[in-house]
Symmetry: C2
Subunit: 448 residues, 2 copies
């Protein structure tokens, strides 16, 4: 261990680099550019920054492995990840596609950045992935409109389009954290039902204008073309705000399990309201009280009332690195990094703690920080090899703070017994998540 020799330029001791307890470091020191670091590193021994880099062989000599000596493979028309990344996949709760729900969770602990690649976007499906012929698919807008209209992909393509980055999160994401004891599962199992992509399509307001909305209409009911015909009611106001008929996901057509050839995108709203395989929008005076909003996505509150039409996915964050399954291979400098987002707008601040919430330091946010999109946050940390409890907490520009676990449980309750891993019994968990770091470097899910 050489980390004790690490010094901030122009300072004499470790205290000035700390922004909070148990090793959280001033992010400007490390993220403000090389000039600030150069002085310190220039006089420190080899590998002092992380204790990890090793001295190079003389002249930079390397032994040539096979791939440096032989031509590589032919390029594929559509590329897939290296076979060495075969474990970077979604985990499935119903891999055989048996009748009932199917969930596929994003492996956030193995990804980085803010965009979720299309192959790994989360899925919750109530009827599998339909194989829809895009030439036969139609979208109807009817009900309280002057002119009911039917669109196909060709006609939609003639309207002005819009592009934006937006996260989508299942209302059931984080459901295992309603357990009275912290379930020992990794980040993918706990918070893998949220992803973020760049979406392109036609604003719903454009189509509403084309159809002519009756002033009596206050809601619209969106219905999918797949077998469950999932239907959800949405306030009309959202349709005239930022709702979109999404046709492209990260530049290419939507993935089959994410609504191909078209889905409703309601930035910031509960995942299942972003109806996939969208085939019908009916304008109405009130909500439909569909099965999906009256039963499945209407959990009970401690006071006995149903938590219904909650719409927004509230401000939330979690640490992706380190996290369970990513153990720390020795003390020294590590980066604490994670994802923050809010259905109400832009993330304005993420605070990180390494001592279970006793003290907090402000993390750096990767630009651009976009409304209703994943924001990557980062904070340098010098782990001293002792126990630590890592937490993150986010704020948004609508003035909301991510609740602590205690605040959340007081308002929303918790289960009396641990649920099975993978169960989605309760909804809209957005409280602080805690990772306990043990002396061995192992990381566990804890409550703090």
């Amino acid at each position: 261990m050489r980390t004790s020799t690490y010094r901030h330029r122009g300072t004499k001791g470790p205290t000035s680099e700390a922004v909070a307890g148990n090793g959280l470091l001033n992010r400007r020191m490390l993220l403000g550019g090389g000039a600030i670091l150069a002085g310190a590193i220039g006089t420190a021994p080899l590998g002092s920054m992380t204790g990890a880099a090793a001295e190079a062989p003389a002249g930079g000599a390397l032994t040539d492995p096979p791939w440096s000596l032989e031509p590589g493979a032919a390029i594929e028309p559509y590329e897939r990840p290296s076979r060495f990344e075969k474990d970077v996949v979604r985990t499935l709760n119903n891999p055989k596609g048996l009748s009932g729900n199917q969930g596929a969770r994003t492996p956030h602990h193995l990804l980085n950045g803010a965009i979720t690649p299309n192959g790994l976007h989360f899925v919750v499906s109530h009827g599998g992935a339909p194989e829809i012929d895009p030439d036969q698919h139609r979208l109807v807008i009817h009900g309280l409109v002057k002119r009911p209209l039917v669109f196909n992909l060709d006609t939609l393509a003639r309207y002005p389009m819009t592009t934006r980055v937006s996260f989508i999160e299942c209302g059931g994401n984080g459901a295992p954290l309603f357990s009275p004891e912290p379930l020992q599962a990794n980040l993918q199992a706990l918070h893998g039902l949220a992803s973020c992509a760049e979406w392109t399509g036609v604003k719903l307001s454009t189509l509403f204008d084309e159809a002519g909305v009756d002033p009596k209409a206050k809601w619209f009911i969106a219905e999918g073309a797949d077998a469950p015909h999932l239907a959800r009611s949405v306030p009309l106001k959202k349709g005239f705000d930022d709702a979109m008929i999404a046709l492209y996901q990260n530049g290419e057509r939507l993935m089959p399990a994410n609504g191909y050839p078209m889905r409703l995108l309601l930035p910031g709203y509960e995942g299942n309201m972003n109806v996939k395989y969208l085939r019908r929008i009916k304008l109405a005076e009130g909500p439909a009280m569909s099965y999906w909003e009256a039963r499945t996505y209407a959990p009970l509150l401690p006071n006995g009332k149903a938590y219904q039409f909650y719409l927004l996915q509230e401000v939330k964050s979690f640490i992706t690195h380190p996290s369970p399954d990513l153990s720390l291979k020795g003390p020294g400098l590590w980066e604490i990094s994670g994802i923050a987002y809010s259905g109400a707008g832009r993330v304005t601040k993420v605070m990180v703690s390494a001592d279970g919430g006793k003290s907090w330091g402000e993390a750096a946010l990767s630009e651009p920080v976009l409304s209703k999109a994943f924001t990557r946050f980062r904070m340098p940390w010098r782990w001293d090899g002792g126990p630590a409890v890592l937490q993150s907490r986010a704020w948004d520009d609508a003035g909301n703070a991510q609740p602590t676990r205690a605040e959340f449980v007081a308002a929303r309750g918790q289960l009396k017994a641990p649920p099975p891993v993978g169960a989605v019994l309760n909804h809209h968990f957005n409280a602080v998540t805690s990772w306990g770091v043990e002396g061995t470097g192992e990381v566990k899910h804890v409550y703090a």
Copy 2:
């Protein structure tokens, strides 16, 4: 055709909606939100906006296709596009991977937005796609440094990371436009060697600081681990600016043909300088004059000198919709949309013409407009069914304007005879591209 009944709210004739000749429309009218359009559409006949939407059946009734009646398929751990999108692939100039160069071009005319999905990112490879074991891969930094260092993926992961969106463009992108006659090829063949992704990795400046740079160093030479050992010299200043050792591409590990497990990212610099499979960085007083910079990427100028160390990919734009292979199915409203970018910084303005450059209207730019990244531009257009020549022209915040074809040929010359389609004989074509729309709706590559 009902488009003549289309009216802008509060105005009496079609002239107030025009911003330039041959049907270019005021973008605020269509992109400023539903409120502006509602009045006009509300009093216009069915489908007036595009002449494309059709009246819906009574009550929104639809006939159920098979996918509305049966459960769908099981969700896959790593998802791929629908089989109906099988033609949305990269075109290969060497599909069998025979010795020599391999190129894979992005199908921009079939994509939308600003992000290129990982499966479709362009590739130029001088030795195929190596299958590198990430655990065995090493990166050495040596030469004029105080401490030569060697890194592996684990040690790199401990340094602070950074995330940014950046385009990469091959120096040979657009090479077919050096032809004296417009080659009849689609956008993918003409400009498919540029793509844009979100990249995450470690800033090179962080590693330079860790190694300690000798003040005599003015350049660094980056070398790849694949068989060609492609090496390029880069001014040291770029290494301390925004250069990155990229480890993630749109959230997941780099694609095998895009440098897995690590590549140099030099935002805005010529594609091949972003060395893939990066294994060695040597700091030096001058450039190496490597094969790749002294011969392959050093084309002749009309004055007989070599065009060498040009580094930047200059400001450029092209229209993706419509473009060859995307014919217009009848007159009426269409969206003109495309991509603009500059290696020097942010795109500040894109102008669009429908009359071959006689008159221009300013396009809308999709937010966020990021430095050295693709920017999607959009402009509504009412095609009257007559001949039209569509052009786009971009400006950047460094004060550069995309040249007209005439300006470009005067400075950089052109070939005496048409090259074979797919040939990359000359470099850094960034002039205006023109699409000729014929009365049939067919779109052809033209010079104008």
